[in-house]
Symmetry: none
Subunit: 413 residues, 2 copies
């Protein structure tokens, strides 16, 4: 690659927070000792970011779609396709995907347990009995997720998302027959027919499966059927590289985000020691980033830890993982070179008081040549709010970066 400008976009997953009484009214980021992020704030331009819109609680999927420059409200197809991507299924444009449960039914297909006794073992074997099925001209891709969860992809001509659920959502009810939401819609009619056939075939493949025979012998509910729901059609997203004129790579800790990256045509680099947990080797991720700058001009890097600490409700753990990331930021600032832009932000807030994603904005800083520095000398939710960027949105990040990188085409003459 030519030695032009490059950019590293570091997403500290769920880092945004609210003032915490246990931290003397500071947020974890404000309370953490972060000399390198503070230096970035002092050298760069700060602001706050609404990943989608003010106050909106976003997921990791909708958040990263926005950050990569896609209008999440316009393109988000429901959870099916992104759940499937998240667990590593090869979802392609035009595929129809579902979230699924392994469930327990009786001989009349009445649901006895929607979660098959919250099965934890053997689901990989069960999934293998299903994955690769052929129904008419449609190929089934199927993979287990955590516990009783799984994802299903239907690939073939003439499929769509206009079908109803098969999961009755209540025990004691018979498995629902999927139907087309519009009886005159041939695509919906075909998809419903394939889906109903899939559900029956899953029962046939699983009812006498050795894993289930063992479970029944142990007095456990067998995982003898798969019930799909949350249908979505994999959206026709433009290729990230073509859209923005960037050669991009994902170095991220979350399967779902790897899936999104691959889906929009980015490369993905896995890092040894990157666990996605609080014990992750964050510095190894930093080294992978500096290595990747040899081959790419845009690196999306996600460190998952702050989100984990937020979900756990632990302000102390969140402070610690932020300090660990800060050390990695110091390494990046020393090693990416003065011509490379560094952007630090988060994909959403995960306040320790909420233990879940919230719609509070997150801080953001842009560092690099030509950036209009402001008076911010500390990187925190409230200090960044006084920065020169004011309040921007997720989809703005890539536009601001491609402008700075000089790769953006002019809109107009």
């Amino acid at each position: 690659m030519a030695d032009t400008s490059k950019a590293v976009l570091l997403i500290c997953d769920g880092m945004g927070d609210r003032p915490c009484p246990e931290l003397g009214g500071k947020t974890p980021l404000e309370a953490a000792r972060t000399p390198h992020m503070d230096k970035a704030a002092a050298m760069g331009e700060c602001g706050i970011l609404d990943v989608v819109r003010p106050g909106i609680r976003v997921g990791s999927d909708t958040g990263h779609l926005s950050i990569l420059g896609y209008d999440a409200y316009a393109v988000y197809p429901g959870r099916g396709p992104f759940e499937a991507l998240g667990i590593g299924l090869d979802v392609q444009r035009g595929d129809v995907a579902f979230r699924c449960n392994f469930s327990t039914v009786d001989d009349h297909l009445v649901v006895l347990d929607r979660r098959a006794g919250r099965i934890t073992e053997g689901t990989e074997d069960l999934a293998q009995a299903i994955d690769g099925m052929q129904i008419e001209d449609v190929t089934v891709l199927f993979k287990e997720s955590v516990a009783h969860r799984a994802a299903l992809v239907l690939r073939g001509p003439g499929l769509g998302a206009g079908v109803s659920d098969t999961d009755p959502h209540h025990e004691g009810e018979k498995v629902w027959e999927a139907h087309s939401l519009d009886p005159a819609d041939e695509i919906g009619v075909k998809t419903a027919r394939i889906l109903n056939a899939f559900v029956r075939k899953s029962y046939e493949a699983l009812k006498a499966h050795p894993v289930n025979r063992k479970r029944t012998a142990q007095g456990l509910h067998p995982a003898n059927i798969v019930l799909p729901r949350g249908v979505g059609m994999a959206p026709n997203l433009e290729d990230f590289g073509k859209l923005h004129g960037l050669k991009g790579v994902c170095i991220v800790e979350v399967g779902l985000i790897k899936g999104i990256g691959k889906y929009v045509g980015m490369d993905v680099i896995d890092v040894a020691g990157s666990t996605g947990g609080l014990d992750s080797d964050v510095m190894a991720i930093g080294r992978a980033v500096t290595d990747a700058l040899k081959d790419y001009n845009f690196i999306l890097c996600n460190v998952k830890g702050p989100d984990i600490a937020g979900h756990d409700g632990s302000a102390r753990a969140k402070v610690e993982i932020i300090e660990k990331i800060d050390a990695m930021v110091g390494f990046l600032m020393e090693n990416i070179g003065p011509e490379t832009y560094l952007v630090i932000t988060a994909d959403h807030s995960t306040p320790v008081s909420v233990k879940d994603h919230s719609g509070d904005p997150v801080p953001i800083v842009f560092c690099g040549p030509g950036v209009r520095t402001d008076d911010c000398i500390a990187f925190g939710e409230r200090s960044a709010a006084r920065g020169g960027l004011h309040r921007i949105r997720g989809v703005d990040i890539i536009s601001i970066l491609t402008n700075l990188l000089g790769v953006q085409e002019k809109f107009g003459a």
Copy 2:
């Protein structure tokens, strides 16, 4: 109700203003002594609000629709339905509504006076002669408003807004025949037919009405016909409570806003002593708000006075009513409890120098648990502009509140 988080959204109608020479270059809000709003600013997070978009002059209807989370540009159907709501007509989804004038015509239906001598008395009696008419399968709802103004609602199957006006807008012209904007549109054709029949029937009902015989004897123009214009179809707005997961009530001083509240499914509480004028018992409104917190988790409260003072062009009166509201804010801050959010803002500016609504942004402050406090210590147009919220829009208010209240569904996974 369970003791979860609640919110009070206080709209100081038309409070935003511009620097006034007669106040030494301060705005009325800046000039007023407002220790309690200033305390709210110090405890909370401030910003400025574009109720619809920067610079856009909004009405009370479009302003409050936005503040309640509806996209005013997408849903606003023209003034007919909201004029009708504002004077207390029972407008329902699918109704077609018009603004009307009582006018004076000769025997050939040539308009002599579009405003019937600016009639002020007897319009209630005239309206009663029209309200309740049946035309084919359509029911007529009709009510007088101020002076020569009135509103008309047509309720029945197969009606639409695709019809032309009947009011020629110039004297000396014959009353126009309404027609369908699309001759092939059966709904427009029927609506035009009903509308023309209504205009003729209004003439028949009014021409010899005792009120008009008296006016003619006095040498006044009789109000002998009704001319509808400004057609709009009552929009299919989602129920406020379902949309946002809130149990909401309106405690507001303006009929139009009560109408909007009812229309989106909110309850309405009337307050004795609340006049909608500068003499209103604002503290009684405050007491009604604290009482209502027992039964609701979202209260939309509107105090009309600042808008009146703005329309009157009186900076001094505006300062006084703002100080009166400030005392009520003090009462609220003492009585709503520490878990209840308080938001103070306006639905638009009504600068005393303009004597009408303007498109200048208004200040806003959010107070309550977990809010990211900023450096603001005074509540004013220019001090709030330095706050942590920066610049948000009307539709953002409810998203930010439902995020803080923990009742918002996540967008994505």
